[in-house]
Amino acid sequence: MLETMLLLISFFTIFTIGILFERYILKQADQKKPVDFFNKQKDIKNNTSNISIDSSKVVLDIKKNNVEKHYDELGKKTKTKDNTQSAIAKLKNMKGR
C-alpha cells in the first residue's frame, strides 16, 4: 500500500515538473522570437533624450569649430530611379499601417 502511494506521488511529482518545464521552454522560445521592425515601433516612444551614454568611452560632442575641413562634402552620390513605391504600398497593407 505504502509502495503504491509512493509510486503515485512520484508519478505526480514528475508529471508536474514536466508541465512546469514545458511552460518554461515555451516561454523561453517565445522570448527569443524576433519581433519585426514595425511592431517594435508600436512600443517605442521618442525617448532619445533618456538615453545615457558613457562619455568616457564615446566622444559625442564633436567640436567641429576646432577642426579645419579640407573638403566640400563627404560621400559620393549616385542617383537611381525610385522603384520602392509598390514595395511601400504592399508592406503598408501587410502591416496594417
Binding site: 522560445a29 527569443k32 521592425f37 515601433q41 564615446v58 575641413k69 520602392t84
Partner: protein, 334 residues
C-alpha cells in the same frame, strides 16, 4: 521626408528621395592619422594631401577620411583604422568613436525638420561567438544619440530584415536575406513580411583580408585594395599571390557561411514550414566578388541546407540594398 542609413563596418550609405529618384551617398568608413613633429613636416604633409579628404585636428594632426585614408595607409605600408568592428562601434579605440560620430553627422547632415524619420541598420547576435563580448544595444544607443543631435528621430532595424524589405517584394516578403558586409554576415528568414529567424556570423570580408594578409605578409589595407580591384574569381587560382590567397579564403568563407547557415536553421523551432522552395537574396560589398553567389549556392547544397531553394539571387544593387530597405521602412513610419 525620410532617410535610410546603412551603418556598415566598411561603408556608410545614406539613401533619400529626390522627386522620382533615390539618391545614395556612400562614404568609406575609414580613417588614417598623421601627426607631424615639426612645422616643416606639417607644411609638407599638407601639400602631399592636396585634393584628399581630410581634417586638421586641433592638436595639429591630420585625419584623412574615407577611401583616401586607405590609399594613404597603403602608400605608407600600413593599415587604415576603422571606427567600426564586426558591425558595431569599435570598442578598441577611443578615437574611432569620435571619427564615427564625425563621419555620420557629415554624411547625414542636419534633419530637414525636427524629428525627421531616419531608419538605420544594426546587426543581429552572432551564432558563432559564444562569449558575451558582442552586444548590439550599446552600438544602437550610440548611433541613435549621434543622429538625435542632428535633429533626427532615428530608429534601428535589423540589417538583414531591411534587405528583405528591399529585395523580396516579388515573393510577398517570403524568403531569406543574407547581407554579406565587411565585418559580419547577417541573415533573416522572412515569412509574409514577418522575420522568423535572425542571426549573424562573425566572418566576412574583413576575415578574408586578414587571413590573406597573414598568408602573404602584406598589410590588410593592401589586400583590401587588391581585392576590391577585382581580377579574381572565387575558388580559382590566380597569378597574383595576393589575389590567389583572396580567392582561396573567399571559398573558405563561403563554405563556413553555408555550414553555419545550415547548422543554425536545421531543426530551428521558429523556422516556418515553407510550402514552396524559397528564394535567397544576397547583398553587401563582400558578395560582389566574381563567383560569390554561384559558390554560395553550390556550398549550401553541399551543406545540406534544410530548406528547398528556388534560387540564390544577387541583389540588383548589392551595396545599396540594405540602405534602400531602411529607406522603405522609414517611409512606412512617416
Amino acid at each position: 521626408m525620410s532617410k535610410g542609413l546603412d551603418v556598415g563596418t566598411s561603408f556608410v550609405v545614406l539613401s533619400q528621395y529626390d522627386n522620382e529618384n533615390i539618391i545614395f551617398k556612400d562614404f568609406r568608413d575609414a580613417f588614417y592619422v598623421i601627426k607631424p613633429n615639426t612645422p616643416i613636416a606639417t607644411k609638407m604633409i599638407e601639400k602631399g594631401l592636396a585634393g584628399k579628404i581630410f581634417v586638421k585636428d586641433e592638436d595639429g594632426s591630420f585625419i584623412i577620411l574615407g577611401k583616401d585614408a586607405i590609399e594613404k595607409a597603403v602608400e605608407r605600408n600600413e593599415t587604415a583604422r576603422r571606427p567600426m568592428y564586426r558591425g558595431v562601434v569599435s570598442v578598441k579605440e577611443k578615437e574611432a568613436k569620435r571619427i564615427l560620430s564625425y563621419i555620420l553627422t557629415e554624411v547625414v547632415g542636419q534633419a530637414s525638420e525636427p524629428g525627421e524619420k531616419l531608419v538605420f541598420c544594426v546587426p543581429s547576435q552572432p551564432v558563432d561567438q559564444e562569449d558575451d563580448d558582442f552586444d548590439v544595444g550599446y552600438h544602437e544607443d550610440v548611433v541613435k544619440s549621434i543622429l538625435a543631435q542632428t535633429g533626427y528621430d532615428a530608429r534601428a532595424i535589423n540589417e538583414a530584415e531591411a534587405l528583405c524589405y528591399a529585395e523580396l517584394e516579388d515573393t510577398d516578403y517570403t524568403g531569406i536575406g543574407i547581407s554579406c558586409g565587411a565585418g559580419m554576415t547577417n541573415v533573416c528568414v522572412m515569412l509574409n513580411g514577418e522575420p522568423t529567424v535572425v542571426f549573424s556570423t562573425t566572418k566576412s570580408g574583413d576575415w578574408v583580408d586578414r587571413m590573406s594578409a597573414v598568408a602573404t605578409g602584406e598589410p590588410d589595407s593592401v589586400v583590401q585594395v587588391e581585392k576590391e580591384g577585382g581580377g579574381f574569381k572565387v575558388g580559382e587560382a590566380n597569378e597574383n599571390p595576393v589575389l590567389s590567397a583572396v580567392a582561396s579564403y573567399y571559398e573558405r568563407l563561403i563554405d563556413y557561411t553555408a555550414k553555419q547557415l545550415s547548422a543554425a536553421l536545421d531543426g530551428h523551432k521558429a523556422l516556418p514550414k515553407f510550402k514552396d522552395p524559397i528564394r535567397i537574396v544576397v547583398a553587401g560589398g563582400t558578395s560582389r566578388a566574381d563567383g560569390y553567389v554561384e559558390k554560395l549556392n553550390e556550398k549550401l547544397l553541399e551543406a545540406e541546407f534544410p530548406l528547398p531553394i528556388e534560387e540564390v539571387k544577387h541583389a540588383e544593387d548589392p551595396l545599396h540594398s540594405v540602405s534602400k530597405g531602411c529607406l522603405i521602412a522609414a517611409s512606412i513610419l512617416d
